[in-house]
Every structure is written in structure tokens, then in C-alpha cells.
């Protein structure tokens, strides 16, 4: 649990890259990353979720039906700077592996930090989608990311 957590909630409008937006409740409360698990999802080439494992479902707070077919930005937290995701897309669209620390928004408004890796899925030479695998980050990396991202907002 982060020391700075207040448990307070606020109403925000999250605006996405594609021009859409949604209203969301954001609660300042961290949910700890489960030990020993990997959170796995896959998307099509446009970032639409095609697969989510049980750890993904449990941590995001959504059901599988609510996740499959929607844009991966459903997890976007307003504290994440958009340049982080611009870097992600630039890297994976160039066919390379990306990793970084991401603060994710749960359905109930609370958050969880992950160390994420995203790779392009190539089949018979063609891009068919992307796979993201997240693991548990260290507290020091979370703190450094919090500080860095605050300067990028």
C-alpha cells in the first residue's frame, strides 16, 4: 500500500487518444499486486482486447465479458501521462518489445501498479496483435515512476 494513499475519491473525465472520453470515479487506494502471478492480456493490432487471463480479470475488477472486445484504454488511469503510451505504441508499431511501469485503474476506481512488457505477435510474417504480460514491481520502482509521471502530466 502506498504511503500517500488517502482513500479519497474524485470524479474525473478521462479523455482518450481517439477523441472519446468517459466519466469515472477515481479512488486513492492501491490494491496490492498478487504474488507469483502474471497478468496477461492480448489485443488485436488496434488495441482491442481479445484475451484476458484470470489474474487480469481479478485485478481489473471487470468480468471477462466486459473486457473482451473493448479498447485496452479501459484501464487507463488519469495519473498516467499520455507520453508514456505514445512511447508504448511507437515502440510496438516498430515491431519492438516495450516495457514500463503502469498505474492501472480498476472498475471500482482504486488502482494497481504493474511492470508491463508488450510484444508484437507475428504469425507467418504478419502482425496479428499484441501480448502484454505484467509482473509485480518493486516499491522503489513504483515511487520513482510516481515522481517521474507527475512531472510529465
Amino acid at each position: 500500500m502506498s504511503d500517500q494513499d488517502t482513500g479519497e475519491s474524485r470524479e474525473v473525465t478521462i479523455s482518450y487518444h481517439d477523441g472519446t472520453s468517459r466519466a469515472a470515479t477515481v479512488v486513492d487506494r492501491e490494491v496490492p499486486y498478487p504474488d507469483g502471478k502474471l497478468i496477461v492480456s492480448r489485443t488485436d493490432p488496434n488495441g482491442i482486447i481479445t484475451h484476458a487471463n484470470q489474474a487480469f480479470i481479478d485485478m481489473s475488477g471487470y468480468t471477462r465479458d466486459e473486457l473482451i472486445g473493448v479498447n485496452h484504454y479501459i484501464l487507463r488511469h488519469p495519473d498516467m501521462p499520455s507520453v508514456a503510451f505514445a512511447g508504448l505504441w511507437e515502440t510496438i508499431e516498430a515491431g519492438k518489445k516495450w516495457h514500463g511501469y503502469v498505474k492501472n485503474l480498476r472498475k471500482d476506481g482504486s488502482y494497481y501498479w504493474v511492470k508491463a512488457t508488450v510484444i508484437p505477435n507475428i504469425r507467418n510474417g504478419k502482425l496479428v496483435g499484441y501480448t502484454s504480460v505484467r509482473r509485480k514491481p518493486s516499491r522503489s520502482k513504483i515511487k520513482a515512476s510516481e515522481e517521474l509521471y507527475a512531472t510529465l502530466m
Binding site: 499486486y33 504474488d35 502471478k37 492480448r42 501480448t131
Partner: protein, 249 residues
Amino acid sequence: MAYNLTVSPDFAPDHISGWYFFNTWLQRQLDVGVHLELYDCFEKQRSDIRDNKIDMIYANPYDASMLVRELGFKAIARPQERPDETVIAVSAESTISSVEELQAGITVATTDDPDVHTMGMIMLEPADLDGSNVTTKEVDTYVIVAKNLLNGNADVGFFLKDAYDELSDLIKGQMKVLVSSQISVVHHSLLVGPTMQEFIPRLEERLFSMHEDEKGKGVLQSMNLEEWEPMTEEETEFMIDLIDTLVIE
């Protein structure tokens, strides 16, 4: 002409004879000569694979990428309910009770089993530990990993969960588990090389019904497996992609 079958060197020593029974069973089913070549280290096995000396392999998930994407092997089967999971343990007397309490400078006892080692290192990351600030001591077997913990020559040990579970109660009683992975989609698989593709239909037919007759069932038991399950090309690719995200550049 005889074909060559090999098994990932991390198989449990107690089940060596099971692989010889499997080899005999295989030759009967396919009506061809198959020679079983066993290795005690991954490196020598990999170099023989690259020299095209191997036609069929029960492979570690970590090697599947090279076999499928570089050498044209096809994964056809996996053992039912046998995911490769990793355990990190310490001596029961250790004051450490969670990974986060571990400090830079510790010694890790591990084997050359690539998927267990990779997962073990990933599970140390929450403590800011990596190859630069831990000393790794590579030993031959999981029993030796345990011994290193018990006699204080290592602070933590990495184990394949199946191997940890098979240790004697006496040894297990002197250790405690800090974390156990729950990945479930990473596992060993049976792969067939380009030289044996013509046998795949027959092989699949026999493998997937192997547990239904007495003889086949006995062979499976001696390998400590329940039954073979089909593996689709996409499941294989998914597993390889997933492992790809775990390996350090």
C-alpha cells in the same frame, strides 16, 4: 534409418526408465526405429538440436521458441495438468518471511533449468534484486539446491514446483516457501521436427488415446504423466510469445 528422440534434461531422475518405456512404445506405434538420447545439460542438447541430430523432443518451454520459430518443429502434445511452476524457498530457520525482505548481496541456489531460473529471477524483482546484485550458485539438481539452503551455503533457492513437492518430508520440513508461481500456461511439450512430420497424424491418434489402454497407461505412469493433451499451433505461439516477454533483452 533410426530417428532420435530426446528429453529436456530437467526430467526427474526417478522417471528415466519411463522415458525408455515411452521410446519402446513409440517405436511400436510408428513401426520405425527411434533412439532415445539423454543429456545431463541443456547446452550440449541445444548444440545437437542445432546440428539437426534430433527429430523429436519433450522440451522445456524455454526451448520451444528456438525449436518452433527457428528450426521448424511442431508442438503436438502437452502433459495434462503439468504446468511448470516455480517455488522460491528459504531455510525454515531464516528470519525472512517474504520476498520483499530479501536484501542485495544474497546468494541464490539454482539449476540450469531455464524456465525455473527465469521465473525465479522475476519473482525476486519486487525486492529490487536482479543479476547485478545477487550471486547465483548453479548446481545440478533440486536436492542439491535444498542442501545449499539447509547448510547455509545459499540464502534462497529456486525449485521447479513438481520437484519441490517430490522432495522428502524431512527436507521439506526444514524449508519454507516464500512464493510459488501460478502461471498455468507455461509447460513442457512434445515437439516433432521437420524430418518426422509424416508421422504426426498417426502419432496424434496414438498419443491422445494412450491413457485408455493398460500398456499405454503403465508407460505414462512410469513417466509420472496422466495423459497427453493436444496442443494447437496458436497455443504454442501464445506460450512462446509469453516467454518472450519474460526474458531479459
